[in-house]
Amino acid sequence: MTAEFLSRIQFGFVMSFHILFPAFTIGLASWLVFLEALWLRQRSDLLRDLYFFWMKVFAGSFGLGVVSGIVMSFQFGTNWAGLSTMAGNVLGPLLNYEVMTAFFLEASFLGVMLFGWNRVGHRTHFLATCMVALGTLVSSFWILAANSWMQTPQGYTVVNGIIEASNWWAAIFNPSFPTRLVHMVLACFLSTALVVGGVSAAYLLAGRWQDKARLMLRCALVFVAIVIPLQIFVGDLSGLVVREYQPAKLAAIEARWTTARNVPLTLFAWPDEAAERNDYAVDVPHLGSLILTHSWSGEVQGLKDFPRADRPPVAAPFFSFRIMVGLGLLMLALAVVGLLLWWRRRLYASRWYLRCWIAMMPAGFIALLTGWYTAEIGRQPWVVYGVMRTVDAASAVTAAAVMGSLITYFVAYAILFGFGSWYLLKVLRDGPGSAPQRFPRDMTPQRPLAGLGTGNGENAS
């Protein structure tokens, strides 16, 4: 095994691990903003309890996201020195903007958000929550700009084999960036909403914290119902961009071998890359052309149009794309059924339906990961599409060194994942109990218990 191959496995592994946490915290941060804003208006204990409960979940996953994210910022040098040398002029500045506009913002206000409840006023605390949420979104802006530039590079020139930026606006707002950014942010929101809904379903089934669980389930359901159709629409737009700028990737996703009009939609098949054909294909006539080109008889390019050396692997993008879309459709079904049950006033009592929410808890994350596999494996054999090959991007380190680091990351992340899951389950099992009251620092509360259970969370402020 070469150092390059091992580095690819390592990057895929540390990235897949990392992305789960930012994805969750991007959604959670906005959910916390929503909860605290509602609390500021209504001042009910229920909302404040929910805020503190989800803040604990947020703290754990944010911590895991930070530490696994620091690893990412050094991977480009340790394992992908070729990429850093050739494309660092473009990727470095984009990532640096992410640090300056997002990471510091999140990190600094996170402290105030987690520990400042008794030290700053309500509005300031809310502002801190907003800043953390803003940071998570700004961060996704830059990271998606960098990644989308690697998919559809624009605004650059190549000077002596080194990429130099010639137009930053064009580089950042490259063709695939707008749709991919929206697609990713919505995916993060959906993943979080499915967890929120799943947790409330579990509480409803267990007969605990009923009021809080009902409120959360309603929020999650309404949110998924609004966002999932939007997400399917944006995903479709993203597909059109792929068709225009990365035709080989599209051919791999659809396992199309020959260029043709009136292509069917292949629901399932076993792509055989050596023989350049699909076995056991289940096709729906014309639907492929309709979805991919928005016309009944549109032309879709096949893989045989590309030299073998320029083709991505077929099976991985083909299957991971189908898992993503399948889960998206399940989310749509979950929302539609939920709205029906709500209308019939049976939402909280239908135990089978609540179990569906629990089953769907990881669906957002799985869809998100398989979506990324589709995008990244489909980009192969290029690391910067059409400009630089992945083979040329690797560092000149030894395979043994990369094997060592891969095993180290694997062991370390297994421990983190194990304990992280335990942490999360413990917080969820403890449930949204009573959040601390607010006392201004150095002021003894006059009536320490006055706020308890009265629906008025305020004491001496």
Partner: protein, 336 residues
């Protein structure tokens, strides 16, 4: 004077500033971890961690700023250094992972409480050592031998990086001890005071040892320090360092609260400045200069616009968050 001559100089200082901020700010947090075995009991250990819990994350971000800044402004140096120092960088990252998650996990843990306390301590020690090794290897010029990039997995190994590695453990320990003197009271503060005194002597000794070995390095990095008349122009730096060392000693012996921490920071900053002055104008001594490694003005200029606007804002709200959490930390504070 063209942009291509000036911008690398500006970026050399921005990245130097970011790395220094990291060394100072995460230095004292790592110091808390290094000293955590000296706590009387679990509660005291928790109190020590609580002094840094709201701010460690922002402190660590300076490391990312330094790393990614290097990638943006000097991509060649970024690629060269990180490849050559693959093993110490891996050790640093893994150590920082366990140190970082210990903040959240230790509070929530029950039976594994001691394990995460240990992870916090070992993570801090290994991270400090790895940083010292990386610093020493760069100063020594390990990534470049005879103008060629070095790719051997352990080619960075040598007595000097080992020396700087151990020195940094004690150095961070000193920063941590003086921080705890500032932020705690009663028994924990006494423990920190007792630690600060010997640490200070050890750190001053290490600083002398590191300075004394500089002329013997292959990189001839510190030739500047020992040639006439440079020695004269640069003399204020070692003199200031000596003066600060004396002041620090007096402040610690007089049991002051805040002064030792401030002086320890200044002492550290001066030492760092000494190394940076010696490196100038190379990023990897002896032959990769800031102009060789620089990204074109289109990149450096683009990020500079952001840095000029954002870094003051970042410093402003960093200061704000320190202000929110000013004063002594008492038991039982936190959201947990």
């Amino acid at each position: 004077m063209t942009l291509a001559t000036v911008l690398p100089v500006v970026w050399f200082f921005i990245i130097g500033f970011a790395v220094m901020m990291y060394v100072l700010l995460d230095g004292f947090v790592l110091g808390i971890g290094i000293l955590s075995p000296f706590a009387d009991d679990e509660q005291q250990q928790e109190l020590m961690m609580n002094t840094a819990a709201p701010i460690w994350d922002g402190n660590e971000t300076w490391l990312v700023m330094g790393g990614v800044g290097l990638m943006a402004a000097f991509p060649k140096a970024y690629a060269l250094i990180l490849q050559a120092l693959y093993v110490p960088v891996l050790a640093l990252l893994i150590a920082l992972i366990f140190r970082g998650v210990a903040f959240e996990f230790r509070f929530r843990a029950e039976s594994s409480r001691r394990v995460w306390g240990l992870a916090f301590c070992l993570g801090s020690i290994v991270a400090a050592f790895a940083q010292g090794v990386i610093l020493g290897a760069i100063v020594e010029g390990a990534p470049l031998k005879a103008g060629q990039a070095v790719h051997g997995t352990f080619d960075w190994y040598g007595p000097f990086p080992m020396l700087t590695g151990v020195a940094l453990i004690f150095g961070y320990g000193l920063l941590g001890a003086t921080w705890l003197v500032l932020k705690t009271e009663g028994r924990p503060q006494m423990v920190a005071r007792d630690l600060a005194r010997p640490l200070m002597l050890v750190v001053i000794a290490f600083m002398g040892l590191v300075s004394a070995s500089l002329p013997f390095l292959d990189s001839r990095l510190m030739a500047r320090w020992f040639s006439w008349p440079n020695m004269l122009y640069l003399s204020p730096l070692p003199i200031a360092t000596a003066v600060v060392a004396v002041l620090l000693w007096r402040a610690v012996m007089k049991n002051r609260d805040a002064v030792p921490f401030v002086l320890a920071l200044v002492f550290f900053a001066l030492g760092f400045l000494g190394l940076v002055v010696g490196m100038w104008p190379n990023l990897v001594s002896p032959s990769l200069s800031i102009w060789d490694a620089a990204s074109p003005p289109s990149s450096q200029g683009f990020v500079l616009v952001g840095a000029v606007i954002m870094l003051p804002v970042v410093l402003l709200y960093t200061a704000y968050s320190y202000r929110v959490f000013r004063g002594k930390v008492r038991a039982g504070e936190g959201y947990h």
